[in-house]
């Protein structure tokens, strides 16, 4: 997992591993730790995330709520077709902002 700031008040997280019951809460908590209070946009780059289960989805929803609490937004960047399908199947594409499918 790597992070950088493509622009001020935006945090982009890349190289995320697969997120399942085994590690989803760890990944979520690790991302929460690097979110600064002034951050308004959290971008999760899922292009390298080949697999996500319902616990992984839960982590995404958790981070979405974290950002909303500090009046920011969560963006999902470049999800793989499999992950995109999963987001649509669970209707989370309506809740989460998805960029670059």
């Amino acid at each position: 997992m790597k992070t950088h700031q493509p622009e001020p008040r935006t945090l982009r997280v890349t190289d995320l591993p697969e997120m399942t019951a085994a590690n989803a809460t760890d990944v979520r908590d690790a991302v929460r730790k690097v979110i600064t209070p002034d951050c308004r946009t959290l971008q999760l780059d899922l292009s390298q995330t080949s697999f996500l289960d319902s616990s992984g989805l839960g982590a995404l929803v958790g981070l979405h709520k974290t950002m909303r609490l500090q009046e920011g937004i969560l963006q999902i960047l470049h999800p793989t077709p499999a992950v995109m399908q999963l987001l649509e199947l669970t209707r989370l594409h309506r809740l989460l902002e998805i960029v670059g499918t």
């Binding site: 019951a21 319902s54 929803v61 709520k65 209707r91 309506r94 809740l95």
Partner: protein, 608 residues
């Protein structure tokens, strides 16, 4: 932890297009933790890819399996955590079936799992499984449950599969494992077939009637065969006092029930199963160290048992315990589901038999009531005697549950009339029987008709022993009407007081204290003498009359009865006409409310 892929030999050569259905099976046990089950799902996906499933198909399977396996890990408790999560994959050209065995307490699989609120961080697992496969089935057993997932394959040119690896030794091993997996699955299928056949046969026997125990015996013997068990013990629950009683064993007369299941250590296994409403696995006590408690030559170790409680309408019916000898192998999920199916069937039979018995019992009670009604009808005089100047009319209406009311009227010397009315406390045959005895005893006391007090005193003394022995008592009112002296002499044994009404419409209530018959052996009954001038009326009745109820529950009461008796227009009517008028008045008051007690009365008019 073997994770192997294997295919029947026909696939080692280039595939002939018209070859029959090709089956491939794969099985792996994964440690009950997230990382190992995740590895197992990857292996399962690889196996499916090797069978030629498309990328989309294997992706869907992988996700469904991850969700299912995570549940198995997440919900495992206690010793279940030390048991592996088993993956079995069965794949042919048309579809894939996966069986996932978990060791959780299990849960009710929802018919149609739905999505949670969008912002919920959990609760999407079951929805995903259901969305990703075509069919799901969750078989619950004690200590182990099996989730069966099925999904049809996409249509594609079958045969273009991933190639076999070359190592012949590895191939042989894979083949052996594949065959073992297939054998297991086939025997499970076969036993399901056997159970179905058996159940059809039992259904056919149902109409034939026959003995429940014989039927249950055959059913349980068949269960032994199909579930691979050596002993079966069926006990039935009896609520008063709560206990489990041996119903039957298979084989019949098996000493196993007494020797092992009821031994101190395991006597409560069955009670516990019934109380917790859950199957209980147990290790019956074997021969070693138990002083000859071995069963049927078993080695002493290697006994496995399961106790299954069964219920009807939520109420406990009994338990069925199966024991397997010489094997530490626990019963499989399929064998447990057989046990459940057979026992459900047995439970229905037992419930039916009990209902039948209850119905027979109800018929007996009904018959008893009919007999009691017969006795009571026979008690009442077919016709009242004609004793001028007295005119008589009487009525007796029995409540649904026959009681012991009766009345009698006898001529007593010149110008004399003796009247008795009685209510024996109690219902049914005993009360009617006793009323009959009482009536005959009164008739035998004819010399005392003119002395009601002495008559009751003697009657009580004579009947006391019989009455008190059966905890019964009777209220009795007797009256001697004398035309010569124009008077009525009454005595009462705890009965409703008679009402008198003169030709001028003046009312008298003849109050007289006196215990009912059968309370005290030495009671002396006193007499009350009242004038009864020509034109006067006397009404003797049982309390069923004043206790007649209106639809709102209000009692008819003595005030209404007095008011009716006192009605001026009635005073000159015939006794029969007045009786019919009283019956109409009562019916008008009740408006169809059924009588709770017998309603009996006698009207006597001293004609001028």
């Amino acid at each position: 932890m073997p994770a192997t892929a294997a295919m029947p030999p026909s696939e080692s050569a280039p595939v002939a297009p018209a070859s029959p259905v090709r089956l491939a099976a794969w099985r792996v046990d994964a440690e009950c933790a997230y990382a190992p089950v995740r590895d197992a799902t990857r292996s399962a996906r690889a196996f499916m890819e090797a069978q030629g499933l498309s990328r989309a198909e294997t992706a869907a399977w992988e996700l469904a399996l991850v969700e299912a396996a995570n549940n198995a890990v997440q919900h495992a408790t206690g010793p279940g955590r030390r048991q592996p999560v088993r993956f079995e994959v069965l794949c042919d050209e048309r579809g894939v079936e996966v069986r996932l065995t978990d060791h959780t307490p299990g849960f009710d699989w929802p018919d149609d799992p739905s999505l949670p609120e969008p912002e919920s961080e959990s609760g999407r697992g079951l929805f995903l499984i259901r969305a990703l496969v075509d069919a799901t089935e969750y078989l619950r057993g004690p200590g182990a449950n099996v989730l069966v997932l099925r999904r049809m394959r996409e249509l594609s040119e079958a045969g273009e599969r991933g190639g076999m690896r070359d190592d012949p030794q590895e191939l042989a091993q894979r083949l052996a494992e594949c065959e073992a997996a297939l054998t297991n699955m086939t025997s499970e299928l076969a036993s399901s077939y056997e159970s179905l056949t058996a159940l059809f046969r039992y259904s056919a026997e149902l109409g034939a009637g026959g003995d429940l125990k014989d039927f249950a015996g055959r059913l349980v013997s068949d269960l032994l065969l199909v579930a691979g068990a050596d002993h079966a013990v069926v006990r039935l629950f009896h609520p008063e006092p709560p206990r489990l009683e041996l119903f039957l064993t298979a084989p019949p007369g098996d000493r196993f029930a007494d020797d092992v299941l009821l031994s101190h250590e395991h006597g409560c296994t069955e009670c516990q199963a019934l109380a917790t409403r859950q199957d209980i696995w147990f290790k019956p006590v074997g021969g070693d160290g138990e002083g000859g408690r071995s069963c049927g030559g078993a080695s002493g170790s290697g006994l496995t048992g399961i106790c299954h409680p069964f219920f009807a309408d939520g109420k406990p019916v009994g338990t069925v315990s199966l024991v397997r000898e010489g094997s530490d192998q626990s019963f499989t999920a399929a064998q447990i589901s057989l046990l459940h199916t057979f026992v459900d069937f047995l439970g229905i039979q037992i419930t039916n038999a009990r209902l039948l018995e209850a119905r027979t019992q109800a018929r007996l009670v009904e018959r008893e009531l009919e007999i009691a009604a017969e006795i009571q009808r026979a008690l009442l005089p077919a016709s009242l005697p004609s004793c001028p100047p007295f005119e008589l009319a009487a009525s007796a209406e029995a409540a649904r549950q026959v009681g012991g009311d009766f009345y009698d009227a006898r001529p007593a010397g010149p110008g004399g009339l003796f009247v008795v009315i009685a209510d024996v406390m109690g219902k049914g045959v005993p009360a009617a029987f006793f009323a009959s005895m009482l009536r005959n005893a009164v008739r035998c006391l004819q010399p005392l008709y003119a002395h009601p007090g002495r008559l009751l005193t003697k009657l009580n003394r004579g009947l006391f022993e019989d009455l008190s022995r059966v905890d019964m008592f009777a209220t009795v009112q007797v009256a001697y009407l004398d035309a010569v002296s124009a008077a009525v002499v009454t005595a009462s044994a705890g009965h409703s007081p008679p009402l008198l009404c003169t030709a001028e419409g003046r009312m008298e209530r003849v109050d007289a204290a006196g215990l009912p018959l059968g309370i005290e052996p030495g009671t002396i009954y006193e007499e009350t003498r009242m004038p009864l001038a020509p034109g006067s009326w006397a009404l003797l009745y049982t309390d069923g009359l004043t206790e007649a109820r209106a639809p709102d529950g209000a009692l008819f009461g003595e005030a209404r009865l007095t008011a009716w008796l006192n009605r001026r227009e009635g005073l000159r009517a015939s006794a029969t006409a007045r009786r019919d008028d009283l019956l109409r008045t009562l019916a008008g008051y009740r408006k169809g409310t059924p009588a709770a007690d017998d309603e009996t009365f006698i009207l006597v008019c001293h004609r001028p």
